[in-house]
C-alpha cells in the first residue's frame, strides 16, 4: 500500500530530518510510527501527503510511484489518504454535520450521496446526537472523532494520524483508539505517529521506530521501546 525506498529528506542545507528510510506497509495493516519529538515522524507523513518534497529516494502509494507528481495532481493523491491531526483542525463556524459534509463537497460528491453517507459515518464514530452542534460545544475526544469522521468519509484506502491522542487524556485516547481499530477492521490501512507509550504497548501492533531521522526498529506486535535500555 505504502512503500518508502531510500527516502532522504533535507529541509535546508544541513537540516536533515530523514536518512535512508526503507519500509513497506501492506493493505489493511495498523502501524505505529514512534519516536521522540524531532525524530522525523511528522516529516515522513508530510512527504506522504505531498506537503514537502522528497530530497532523494522513491515513494509509492498503491503501487504507483508518487515520488514526484505535478502540483495539479496532488489533490488526487490526498483524496486517497485520510488525515487526522493532533489539533483536530475543524472549522469553528460550521456544524459537525457540515464539517464532515464539507469533505465530500470538495471532491464533488452528489448531494444525495452526502445526505446518505454523513449520518452513517457520524453514527460510526458515535456522534449522531451532536450533528447540529458546533466544534466548541464538543469535548476534545468528540472533536477528534469528528476529524476522524471527516478523514474517512470519502472512504480513502489509507488513514494517517499524526499524534491523534496528543491533546487527550488517557481515557479519551482509549476511545479514539477503539474508533481507529474499528476503522482498521473494515479494511482501512492505518499509519499512526505517536509517542504515547501506553497505547502502543497495549495494542500490540507493528511498530516502526525513528530516532534522529533514522529507522531504528521495525517490529511486528511490538512495544513502544525494546526492553534493553538505550545506551
Amino acid at each position: 500500500m505504502i512503500k518508502f525506498v531510500n527516502i532522504c529528506k533535507e529541509y535546508k542545507a544541513g537540516v536533515t530530518a530523514l536518512y535512508n528510510i526503507n519500509t513497506e506497509i501492506d493493505k489493511g495493516e495498523f502501524v505505529f510510527l514512534v519516536g521522540s519529538s524531532g525524530a522525523g515522524k511528522s516529516t515522513l507523513i508530510k512527504l506522504l501527503l505531498k506537503e514537502e518534497g522528497i530530497t532523494s529516494g522513491k515513494m509509492f502509494l498503491n503501487n504507483k510511484d508518487i515520488t514526484w507528481v505535478p502540483n495539479r495532481r496532488i489533490p488526487y493523491i490526498r483524496r486517497q489518504i485520510g488525515v487526522v491531526f493532533q489539533d483536530f483542525r475543524l472549522l469553528p463556524n460550521k456544524t459537525i454535520y457540515e464539517n464532515v459534509a464539507f469533505a465530500m463537497e470538495i471532491v464533488g460528491a452528489h448531494p444525495k450521496e452526502i445526505r446518505r453517507r454523513v449520518p452513517m459515518i457520524l453514527s460510526m464514530v458515535d456522534l449522531s446526537r451532536k450533528a447540529g452542534s458546533y466544534p466548541d460545544q464538543l469535548s476534545g475526544g468528540e472533536q477528534q472523532r469528528v476529524s476522524i469522521a471527516r478523514a474517512i468519509v470519502n472512504n480513502p484506502p489509507v488513514l494517517i494520524a499524526d499524534e491523534p491522542t496528543g491533546n487527550l487524556d488517557p481515557d479519551t485516547a482509549g476511545e479514539i483508539m477503539r474508533v481507529l481499530q474499528d476503522i482498521n477492521n473494515r479494511g482501512t490501512t492505518i499509519l499512526m505517529a505517536t509517542h504515547a507509550k501506553d497505547i502502543v504497548n497495549s495494542m500490540k501492533k507493528r511498530v516502526i521506530a525513528l530516532e534522529g531521522g533514522r529507522l531504528v526498529r521495525d517490529e511486528e506486535k511490538g512495544g513502544y521501546s525494546v526492553e534493553i535500555p538505550n545506551i
Binding site: L49, E51, P75, Y76, I77, R78, R89, F102, I106
Partner: protein
C-alpha cells in the same frame, strides 16, 4: 475590506474615465478634421480640350477610395474665395483677370491613405498641380498617436497599481480563511475549487466598483459637457464626444476591466496561500 477594494477599483476606473474621454475627444477632433479635409484639389492647366478633361475625370473615378469628382471652374473658384474672405472680399475686386485655375475637387474616403492617389493624379495629362492637406493630417495623426499611447501607458500603470491594491485587500480576507483553505487542501480540494469563491468575490468587488465609477464618470462628464461644449466649440471649433455616445462603451469597458482587476487581484493574493 470589501470597501477598500471597491474604492480602489472605483478610483482607478474614474481616472481611466477621464483619460478615456480625453482620448476619445482627441479622436473626435481627428475624425472631424479628416472629414473636413477629405478633399483633394486638382488644379488644371489653362484651356484644356474637353477630351483631356473627360480623360482626367474617368481616370480619377476609376481609382479606389474616390467618392466623387466635381469640376470647379475658375469663376466658381473666385466666387467661393470671395465668399470665404467675407469682409475682406473687396480686396479681390481690384483684379483685372481671374488668376485662379480651373480645378477638380475630388472627395476621398480616407485622406490618410490618399498619397498614392495623389501621385497617380499628378501624372495625368493636363494636371498642373495637386493640393491636399497632408501636413495637417499627418501632424494631427502623430499627435493623436501620442495621446493614445500616453493614454494606454497611464491605463496600464493604473491597472497594475489597482491589481496590487486589490490583491492586498483580498489577501486579508484570504488569510482570515487560511485555516479553512488549509483544511480544504488536506481533504484534497483542487486549487480551482479553493480559488472559486475568492475569484467570485474579487469579480463582485470589481463590478460594484465599476458601477460606482460609471455613475460618477457619466454624471460628472454630462455636467462638464453641458456647461463646456459650446464654449470649447467657440474657442477651438471642435465638439466634445457626447456623454450618450460613450455611455455603453464606458459601461462595457469599466465592467470588464473592473471584473478583470478583481479576478486578477484575487488570483495574485491566493498564490501564496495555495502552496500547502
Amino acid at each position: 475590506m470589501g470597501a477598500a477594494s471597491i474604492t480602489s477599483i472605483s478610483a482607478v476606473l474614474l481616472i481611466l474615465g477621464v483619460v478615456l474621454i480625453l482620448v476619445l475627444s482627441i479622436n473626435n477632433v481627428v475624425l472631424d478634421t479628416k472629414v473636413k479635409f477629405d478633399e483633394i484639389e486638382v488644379f488644371l492647366e489653362d484651356d484644356l480640350e474637353s477630351t483631356v478633361l473627360d480623360n482626367i475625370e474617368d481616370k480619377v473615378k476609376g481609382q479606389t477610395g474616390v467618392i466623387s469628382i466635381m469640376f470647379r471652374s475658375k469663376d466658381q473658384a473666385l466666387a467661393l474665395m470671395k465668399e470665404e474672405w467675407g469682409d475682406e472680399a473687396y480686396l479681390l475686386e481690384g483684379l483685372d483677370t481671374n488668376p485662379l485655375p480651373d480645378s477638380y475637387v475630388v472627395k476621398v474616403n480616407d485622406i490618410e491613405f490618399a498619397e498614392n492617389l495623389v501621385n497617380t493624379i499628378k501624372t495625368l495629362d493636363g494636371v498642373e498641380e495637386v493640393k491636399y492637406y497632408k501636413d495637417i493630417i499627418d501632424k494631427l495623426l502623430i499627435f493623436a498617436g501620442y495621446i493614445r499611447f500616453g493614454g494606454i501607458v497611464i491605463i496600464g500603470i493604473l491597472v497594475f497599481i489597482s491589481v496590487f491594491i486589490i490583491s492586498n485587500t483580498i489577501k486579508i480576507t484570504v488569510s482570515s480563511r487560511r485555516r479553512e483553505i488549509n483544511i480544504m487542501k488536506y481533504v484534497g480540494a483542487t486549487n480551482g475549487y479553493i480559488r472559486g469563491p475568492f475569484i467570485i468575490e474579487g469579480i463582485l468587488f470589481g463590478i460594484i466598483g465599476a458601477a460606482l465609477s460609471i455613475g460618477l464618470v457619466y454624471f460628472g462628464y454630462d455636467y462638464f459637457y453641458s456647461s463646456m461644449n459650446e464654449k470649447l466649440y467657440n474657442l477651438f471649433t471642435f465638439y466634445l464626444v457626447s456623454p450618450e455616445s460613450i455611455f455603453s462603451d464606458i459601461a462595457i469597458m469599466f465592467g470588464t476591466i473592473g471584473a478583470g482587476i478583481g479576478a486578477l487581484g484575487s488570483l495574485v493574493s491566493l498564490k501564496r496561500f495555495l502552496n500547502v
